[in-house]
């Protein structure tokens, strides 16, 4: 497949306009979802790059570089909207170029709901400086003052003389001008694309089979690899017999992979690789392997006994991380509860897959579905013992990510095998590989205790959390939550309680712990929002009113006031405050939309939860019903987000809709268990996802209008979903579920 070669700049220009676009993922598209394939090859012979994100060609096409990974959040569309808006570029004369992993682009780690939240100004500046460069070029050509010229519709205009010049005509002059560093941003009311529901730029590719994901890469003379890995983390190969595997038709080679490291980092997890002439032969050969494992220190990890240990851990005082007022307050009533949530796998529909080629000069080129191409580049360089300048990471589309594809272990596997075999290698993980050998969302236990006065109002709040830390993946002897993890829904608790104490408790790690969409917010929101609901019912209060009362008056919370070191998702609290007014507003809006307080049929219930994460505020109301057989159905969801300034409202609605389903999957079905150190579940039969027949008949979403700086969008929708459902279940049936998933309680 010729388009998978690294193509030269000249060749790129020659090929631009051809259907498909190739691995540079150049794509021409028209307005809306009918991408336009340029009928004739463009005639560009020169171009100018005002910055690394923009290249304007003298055929009038503006190339915009997407340096963030597309995994369904729509960044290839919304990033274009921001740059094109400031650039005054026409939507149908833009081509998108997917960036390779390189530090010149700045932060490419597509994680933490940061693409817009942390890059809005950078992207605006990229467009605005390019626009000003076009204006300066026109002013130079016409010998007029730049401030007499305006950029509009892909051209610069001089109203006084009636002159105008298309951007393409200004390339030569602009090439002689200095690169501008800063420019004024447009006024909000002048936006053409920002804030508009633009259609997905990849729409045609998505609906015709033309979209290229990591698993779709094909290189000439390529081998296909399937790897059997040790069930337990850190386990090693004692011996193996590949006689039968090598006899399988199409099997070319069998190789023992490098041993895993401790801590695991993003390194290869060990195992034995079978290489074949196609995916099937490699997988069949792998089945024929006979391997003796040394399971190692984690080989006895058993999730059932580990659960008991976690609950015991939070049942005793831990390490204080936030302290407000008195710790032990005498009140009329004391309430306590323990919540438990299991390990989860991200399970993107495209499993991890990567293709690598090692060239004769030792350099390595990779095509992969990675959320973090710079990290992938460093990992490949370390794995091969070469300089990162010798590593090129081409970023494909991602068939879902959810955090899994931030970890480039699968990319290191492909690079190592390519070097060992001397041929290009594609590594494709099976679904079982993905479910059993990932970087998992932590299992967690939480303890809550509240003291309430005679009216049921909370006077004290004590919360303990224990879970194996993501930090254990990167450092030895990590035995409890890290500060970056208790930022996620513990230290920023919005409760207006005079006495509040937060503690962390110990938990050793026995699997590779990673991050999954919304990370620790998932279980912290479940625990806290469930407990608030319990307090409300104990006080005979309406749960929504009680929640709003506990959120209290509109104010900005600074956890430092209570002695906590709070990271605020890397953002300045002055710009992204913890604003209880915004949390209250989304809560009230969701309740209003759901018709909170209305009469419901027997067996139906409404539940509510709200949560701030990634500098955005989300409230969810769920309506559930329980039938005569005791089975629960999630009938409807109402989801409200305040994410500040929004770039593409259609994609924000889509993220909320998807977060509703993602949250339902983990609430209803999601659980990984372990035995003898390995994950027991393996595919969608044992690790089920919500399907269309379980999806609510209605999901209503709403975006709060806001001029605030952009918050996150991809993740904040998830955390309130599970507690909204379990709170609704209690309202419907009186059954309080403190452990997920609900299927373990026989409800699904």
């Amino acid at each position: 497949m010729s388009e998978l070669r690294k193509i030269s700049r000249r060749e790129f220009l020659r090929r631009t306009g051809q259907a498909g676009g190739g691995l540079v993922l150049a794509l021409t598209f028209g307005t809306g979802c009918s991408p336009k394939e340029t009928a004739i090859a463009p005639v560009a012979t020169a171009s100018v790059s005002p910055n690394v994100y923009v290249n304007i060609r003298n055929d009038g096409i503006v190339e915009i570089v997407c340096h963030r990974s597309e995994m369904g959040q729509g960044i290839r569309t919304s990033l274009l909207q921001v740059i094109a808006d400031e650039l005054e570029a026409d939507w149908d004369r833009i081509e998108i170029v997917q960036a390779v992993g390189h530090e010149k682009y700045g932060d490419q780690n597509t994680d933490g709901s940061t693409s817009i939240r942390n890059h809005f100004d950078l992207l605006r500046n990229a467009g605005a400086t390019a626009r000003d460069m076009m204006i300066a070029a026109a002013a130079t050509n016409w010998n007029v003052a730049a401030d007499e010229c305006v950029a509009r519709e892909h051209a610069v205009h001089h109203e006084a003389s009636g002159q105008s010049a298309d951007y393409g005509e200004l390339v030569d002059t602009a090439s002689e001008l200095p690169q501008p560093e800063a420019a004024a941003f447009k006024a909000r009311e002048d936006y053409r694309y920002i804030g508009k529901p633009m259609d997905t730029v990849d729409g045609l590719a998505f609906t015709t089979g033309g979209a290229m994901y990591g698993i779709d890469t094909v290189l000439p003379d390529m081998l296909y690899a399937s790897i059997e890995r040790c069930p337990a983390v850190g386990g090693t190969v004692t011996s193996y017999d590949d006689t039968a595997a090598k006899a399988v038709s199409g099997v070319v080679d069998v190789l023992k992979m490098p041993e895993p490291t401790s801590p695991p980092l993003f390194n290869i997890k060990g195992g034995v690789a079978v290489l074949g002439s196609n995916t099937w032969s490699a997988a069949e050969g792998r089945k024929a392997l006979a391997i003796e494992w040394n399971l190692g220190a984690n080989g006895t990890h058993d999730s059932a006994s580990y659960k008991d240990a976690l609950i015991a851990s939070v049942s005793e005082p831990g390490t204080g991380v936030l302290s407000r007022g008195e710790r032990d307050v005498e009140t009329a009533n004391q309430h306590e509860a323990i919540y438990y949530t299991p390990y989860l796998a991200q399970a993107p529909m495209e499993p991890p897959a990567a293709t690598a080629r090692v060239n004769e000069d030792g350099s390595c080129e990779v095509w992969a579905c990675t959320q973090d191409p710079q990290n992938a580049r460093n990992t490949v360089a370390q794995t091969l013992g070469i300089d990162k300048e010798q590593v090129t990471i081409n970023v494909t589309l991602l068939g879902g990510g959810f955090g899994r594809k931030s970890k480039p272990d699968f990319i290191a596997e492909a690079a190592w095998l390519a070097r060992e075999t001397g041929r290009p290698v594609k590594v494709t993980w099976s679904r079982e590989d993905d479910i059993r050998h990932g970087y998992f969302h932590s299992v967690a236990a939480q303890y809550y205790r509240a003291g309430t006065d005679a009216e049921g109002n909370a006077q004290s709040w004590l919360q303990r959390t224990a879970f194996p830390s993501i930090g254990s993946t990167f450092a030895p002897n990590v035995t409890g939550p890290g500060s970056f993890e208790i930022d996620l829904g513990v230290l920023d608790a919005p409760w207006n309680v005079p006495n509040m104490h937060m503690e962390t408790c110990e938990a050793e790690a026995h699997l590779r712990i990673g991050w999954l969409r919304s990370v620790c917010n998932v279980f912290h929101a479940f625990g806290a929002s469930s407990f608030v609901d319990e307090l409300a019912h104990a006080a005979n209060s309406d749960p929504k009113d009680y929640l709003l009362e506990l959120i209290g008056p509109d104010r900005h919370i600074n956890p430092a006031d209570d002695g906590a070191e709070y990271g605020n998702y890397g953002n300045d609290l002055a710009i992204h405050p913890v604003d209880t007014g915004r949390l209250r507003a989304v809560t009230e809006k969701a309740a209003d939309m759901a018709g909170w307080g209305r009469e419901l049929p027997d067996g139906h219930g409404l539940g509510i939860a709200s949560h701030r994460s990634f500098s955005a505020y989300v409230a969810v109301v769920a309506e559930v019903s329980v039938n005569e057989q005791g089975k629960m159905n999630v009938d409807k969801l109402w989801c409200v987000i305040d994410a500040g300034t929004v770039i593409n409202p259609d994609r924000v609605h889509a993220q909320l809709e998807g977060a509703g389903i993602f949250g339902m999957s983990l609430a209803l079905h999601g659980e990984l268990t372990t035995a003898d150190g390995g994950v027991v579940e393996g595919n969608f039969d044992s690790y089920p996802m919500v399907r269309i027949n379980e999806a609510p008949t209605e999901i209503h979403t709403h975006i709060m209008q806001s001029d605030a700086p952009p918050g996150g969008v991809g993740e904040p929708g998830v955390p309130p979903v599970a507690p909204a459902i379990t709170n609704a279940l209690f309202a419907a049936s009186g059954q309080r579920v403190r452990e997920l998933p609900l299927r373990n309680a026989g409800l699904t």
């Binding site: 497949m1 979802c33 009918s34 369904g72 959040q73 729509g74 259609d199 997905t200 729409g203 590719a205 998505f206 609906t207 015709t208 089979g209 033309g210 979209a211 290229m212 994901y213 698993i215 779709d216 094909v218 296909y224 038709s249 196609n278 995916t279 099937w280 032969s281 399970a347 993107p348 529909m349 495209e350 499993p351 589309l397 991602l398 068939g399 879902g400 990510g401 959810f402 494709t428 099976s430 679904r431 259609d650 994609r651 889509a654 993220q655 809709e657 998807g658 509703g660 389903i661 993602f662 595919n683 969608f684 039969d685 996802m689 919500v690 399907r691 269309i692 027949n693 999806a695 999901i699």
Partner: protein
């Protein structure tokens, strides 16, 4: 022994192990990557194709089953993405990551061929074999109704 069948309107002859799943024959041997791998066990529907017009999970179907049959993949549904289902999918921006959507579309087309005006219950039944981890079900339902010429 070569397996001969019609793939998107063209006769192909694939010299492969007859037990190889059709999915890998299509992807690795015939070189059409629009049909996706998701589970390998007919649990997720990402690999859905049509065999003589009927939806089929290619990941568990031996390529020998295709002998003499007409196979249609997402690439062969139309030349230009103009099928009403494809158009409705784009009109409503159904896809998020897009990965499962080849299979979703092939299942939806098969449904509409069988039931031109499906109810929500028809849709739930016909589409429940197709998992979307991004959670696009709301728009899938709406797009199928739209493709059927109905307002939803």
């Amino acid at each position: 022994m070569a397996i001969e069948f019609e793939l998107n309107g063209e006769n192909v002859s694939l010299d492969v192990d007859p037990t190889m799943p059709l999915l890998w024959a299509i992807r690795d041997i015939a070189g059409l990557t629009g049909t996706k791998f998701g589970c390998g066990k007919a649990l997720c529907g990402a690999c859905t194709i049509h065999l003589n017009g009927n939806p089929l999970r290619a990941c568990v179907t031996p390529v020998s089953v295709a002998q003499g049959a007409a196979i249609t993949t997402i690439e062969g549904l139309t030349e230009d993405g103009s099928h009403p289902v494809q158009k409705a999918w784009r009109d409503l921006n159904v896809a998020q990551c897009g990965y499962c959507q080849s299979g979703q579309i092939m299942s939806a087309v098969a449904l509409l061929n069988r039931v031109p005006k499906p109810t929500d219950a028809d849709i739930d039944q016909a589409m429940s074999g197709n998992i979307c981890r991004c959670g696009t079900y709301k728009r899938i339902r709406k797009a199928i109704h739209q493709a059927a010429g109905e307002e939803s």
